[in-house]
Amino acid sequence: MAKYCKDCKNCATFDVFKGNCEALGKRVILDTPMDDCSDYQQKEKCGFCKYYAMKPKEEFLGVCRKDSDVPDVDVYAELVACNDFVPSA
């Protein structure tokens, strides 16, 4: 999976285009590919969680299947994950 600044734990939001990299101490463009960045640490977002399942025909919307006893909960890939976050494989 391609890595981008926007998906990195070190990237604090600034606006919809930019973030602040806490590791490098500078402004970054969120959509900058970061495959070669040694400081990259994946954010805990629903989209990166093993309980996340994409909705059919939806690129960014999904459901959480953490609890099999209750109906699926609507979430979206960018949502900040809860304490039950488990990285997907």
């Binding site: 606006d15 285009f17 463009i29 959509d31 909960v73 960018e78």
Partner: protein
């Protein structure tokens, strides 16, 4: 010159603004902010207006999970959840923490309030008639292209309303929420409920013709009010929660379920705000752990400790009190889709904390200025996610008014050292928010007045000057039925642009306690006369808006009779419809945290929508372009009836043909300057129209007409009762509606061409028509009794050289005093050189930080639309006062 470092699909991303020519921007007073504030301000300049989805996602999710709950409890749980899930973000060097979203300049939609602009395509299908009328407003609303506006989609960012950027991956979630709220949002319900009015079709035609600018009422109902900080300042959030618990215990056996629900709901929402603050405290602590230097680490630890303390307790220091006030303020803006939430008399509210800190050596004046500067940047970062039409109306402003001066509850001058520092911070850190207003009173010292004039000389457009005595008179008269005290009247302040709000003392301290409303807005005054001339028919949209009046208009009296008939009809239909549509907000969109703060809601157990505030007569109706209306009527009286220069039919033919000029849409110029005449056939009539008497010259011929039309409108406004059973209140203020409303008008008999921006404010002459000097304007402006209105508004443009030095300052002081002595309510000044404004229009990249006064508010030049820029350039510039 500007340098574009990075580009993404044409969107300029880098923060690099150029330098304007020095000879154009010289200021007698110019100071720099502290380094900290400068850094935060530079961040702001760089940031694009960004939409977030966290709040709407969690609100909607929790709302859906609580179906069947008591509506107040359900709303409070949704709000609590939303506050608790906001991701904290603290920029480096921040002194005051917390903002609306995790973006520097961010906002979010509240689809439970208004969802139509995000679903506009679907709404076009489902509500074709209404969508068409909305579109007509959108078509004529021009959004500025500069500054932080995201005017086009770029890369993975979509543009909404030509202003907000939202990431594609977030947009999907937002639209999902918007779809849920379809036919459930206050806006949708308001549209549906509106159909119960027998004249609903007429109302739709009124909207379609842009006879009113009603976009505001469909999406924003609260605002133009002051946030009351006194309860958390005096007893802290824990104290407020305990008070609610005590009230519940004491009232459980009284059968008042609504009150129990409110107190319980207040507890929920206060708990949500507490968690939000604690999350910021944790984030500050985390950042302290990775801080690269000791100073930053120490500051972050102090911030964390401050936040942790105020999340539970009343503040002990000035900095804690300032942080708490800011937190409450931003929490209110997150809860309610409101415009014009103001800090009011913050210098009075915070003074006891500051004085104690100064006496005990905990803070210096320099530290105070730095903190106040940081507060200014925070206020400027507030944004409101709205539809195009509303953004055009508001010109992107959020109208947070901070007032200084006035008198104390005991009637003595209220000026203090902290207020002087508030003015000083507004000089050194020039930002549009919070705008500054001096409550002018004869008891203010010369020193204080000169300090405020020093601020005027920076050219930022603030402070505005308002008449303390007129405002108190307004309060004592309007809130007499609600038992207003003299002390509360003296503690009055401004909520929004200039709107008078009574004070509400809480244990003797300055507080706020009035209901808030954006009101029924904005009547297009000259358009009403246009419909009179064409017998109720709007030529622009080819719509019969009103039934034909049936008068032949053979005399001036007949013209006035027809105008009165149409204006009366318009006001009544507008206000009755507003009652119906606004009442949809009462269903599930009630202010909870806002109410918990407001005096006396917790005491009465009633939230604001139930009339729990101390004062409630606050529903207003607004008007724009009354000066153009008066000038046009004067021209008709003079040219058609008195001097018989031309007939009414000749005038109508001339107006249809725009006096032989190209249209504003063709020329792209929205003032009378540099217009192009295509056909000389109408030149003579145009010259006669232009030469007719004009308001602003102390000429009774036209001033008497102005007085009559304004007072007729005032009387119609108060005929209708609001949903509290109190009469509506007239409010004279244009905000930025004089741009789009002007575009909906044909040429008018005053010589104004079709589509041109109308006169700004309420008492401002039409640009270029006031020829007898500023004192003549003051005389024209005071033919009406200003205390009859929630506010009035007069703008003046003065060349900086006219008020230079001590002599110049004295001249300005005398001008202000003269207006106040004559009974004027408000006056404000653009102290700018028109040449600079023209250069700024041609080279906006050099003027990122240039601010101008529009109509009751200051805004960045580059974030104003061209019709408004043109109007400001065209305003008469006085070289002598």
């Amino acid at each position: 010159m500007a340098v574009e470092k990075e580009k993404l699909s044409g969107m300029r991303l880098s923060f690099q603004y150029g330098t304007p020519p020095a000879e154009l921007t010289q200021r007698e007073i110019k100071r720099e902010p502290t380094l900290r504030a400068k850094k935060l301000l530079d961040d702001y300049y760089e940031a694009k207006v960004s939409l977030d989805t966290e709040f709407p996602y969690w609100y909607t999710k929790t709302w859906r999970e609580n179906e069947g709950q008591n509506p107040i409890i359900r709303r409070s749980l949704a709000l609590k959840s939303a506050y608790e899930h906001l991701t904290p973000m603290i920029p480096s060097q921040e002194l005051l923490a917390m903002q609306k979203t995790r973006f520097v300049r961010g906002s979010f939609m509240m689809p439970w309030t208004a969802n139509r602009f995000a679903l506009s395509d679907e709404e076009h299908m489902a509500h074709e008639a209404e969508a068409a009328s909305l579109k007509s407003l959108e078509e004529i609303t021009v959004i500025a292209e500069g500054g932080g506006n995201v005017t086009e989609s770029a890369g993975n960012v979509l543009s909404i309303s030509k202003r907000f950027g939202i990431r594609k991956e977030d947009y999907a979630a937002l639209i999902e929420d918007c779809r849920y709220w379809k036919n459930k949002s206050s806006e949708d319900m308001g549209f549906m409920w509106g159909a119960m009015h027998p004249k609903y079709d007429e109302y739709l035609n009124i909207k379609k013709a842009v006879l009113v600018h009603v976009d505001l009422e469909t999406s924003i109902r609260h605002g133009r009010n002051v946030v009351n900080y006194q309860y958390p300042l005096q007893i802290g959030f824990n104290g407020m929660i305990q008070e609610c618990k005590d009230k519940i215990d004491a009232n459980l056996n009284e059968g008042c379920v609504d009150k129990i629900a409110f107190w319980k709901g207040a507890i929920n929402v206060i708990e949500g705000v507490k968690t939000w603050i604690k999350n910021y405290a944790k984030e500050a602590k985390r950042l302290a752990g990775i801080a690269k230097d000791n100073k930053a680490q120490q500051e972050l630890l102090e911030m964390s400790e401050r936040l942790e303390w105020i999340s539970e307790n009343p503040p002990r220091t000035f900095m804690e009190a300032l942080q708490l006030c800011w937190t409450c303020h931003i929490a209110v803006t997150n809860e309610i889709q409101g415009s014009g939430f103001s800090p009011g008399r913050l210098g009075q509210v915070l003074y006891p904390f500051w004085k104690k800190d100064m006496e005990e050596g905990r803070i210096t004046r320099e530290q105070t200025i730095e903190a106040l500067e940081c507060m200014r940047v925070k206020f400027t970062g507030i944004d409101l996610a709205m539809a195009v039409g509303t953004i055009g109306l508001l010109a992107g402003s959020t109208f947070n008014n901070l007032c200084v001066g006035g008198v104390k509850p005991d009637g003595t001058s209220a000026e203090n050292e902290l207020e002087e520092l508030i003015i000083e911070s507004a000089i050194s850190c020039a930002t549009p928010q919070p705008t500054l207003t001096v409550l002018y009173d004869g008891k203010l010292s010369d020193k204080f007045i000169h300090k405020a004039i020093e601020c005027n000389k920076t050219g930022t457009g603030y402070p505005a000057w308002v008449n303390n005595r007129i405002a108190m008179e307004y309060c004592l008269r309007n809130f007499r039925d609600e038992g207003i005290t003299l002390e509360d009247a003296r503690a009055w302040t401004i909520g929004g642009c200039l709107e008078i709000q009574p004070g509400a003392l809480v244990n003797g301290e300055f507080g706020a306690g009035s209901y808030s409303s954006t009101g029924a807005s904005f009547i297009n005054a000259p358009k009403v006369l246009e419909l009179v001339l064409f017998d109720g028919y709007d030529r622009r949209t080819k719509t019969q808006v009103f039934p034909p009046h049936g008068l032949e208009l053979k005399t001036f009296e007949e013209v006035m009779t027809a105008w009165q008939k149409y204006m009366h009809e318009l006001v009544v239909v507008l206000e009755e419809m507003y009652n119906i549509r606004a009442s949809a907000f009462l269903e599930h969109d009630n202010p909870m945290f806002y109410s918990a703060l407001m005096a006396d809601c917790l005491e009465t157990g009633l939230h604001m929508d139930k009339g729990g505030s101390r004062y409630n007569k606050c529903m207003t109706t607004w008007i724009t372009g009354q000066v153009n209306l008066a000038n046009s009527l004067a021209s008709i009286k003079k040219n058609v009836f008195d001097d018989k220069n031309f007939t009414m039919d000749e005038l109508k033919d001339t107006l249809i043909n725009n006096f032989g000029y190209e249209s504003a849409l063709e020329t792209g110029k929205f003032s009378m300057v540099e217009q192009i005449r295509e056909d000389d056939k109408f030149a003579k009539i145009h010259a006669q129209c232009v030469a007719a008497p004009k308001y602003g010259n102390d000429d009774p011929y036209v001033d008497e007409i102005y007085k009559q039309v304004v007072e007729d409108w005032r009387d119609y406004v108060s005929e209708v009762k609001d949903f509290f059973g109190r009469s509506y209140v007239p409010c004279q203020l244009s905000v930025a509606t004089h741009g789009p409303l002007g575009q909906a008008c044909l040429a008018s008999a005053d010589g104004r061409l079709a589509g041109l921006t109308l006169a700004d404010g309420a008492q401002s002459p039409y640009p270029g028509t006031d020829l007898n000097g500023p004192y003549a304007v003051l005389n024209s402006a005071t033919v009406i009794d200003h205390s009859d209105y929630q506010n009035t508004q007069l703008n003046m443009k003065i060349h900086p050289s006219a008020i230079k030095g001590l002599t110049g300052a004295e001249k300005l002081k005398e001008l202000i005093k003269a207006y106040m002595d004559k009974g004027g309510y408000h006056i404000q000044f653009n102290i700018v050189d028109t040449k600079m404004l023209k250069d700024a229009q041609a080279n906006p990249q050099n003027y990122r930080d240039l601010m101008v006064r529009v109509a009751g508010f200051t805004q960045y030049w580059v974030e104003l639309s061209k019709p408004i820029q043109d109007e400001i350039i065209a305003r008469t510039e006085y070289e002598e006062v």
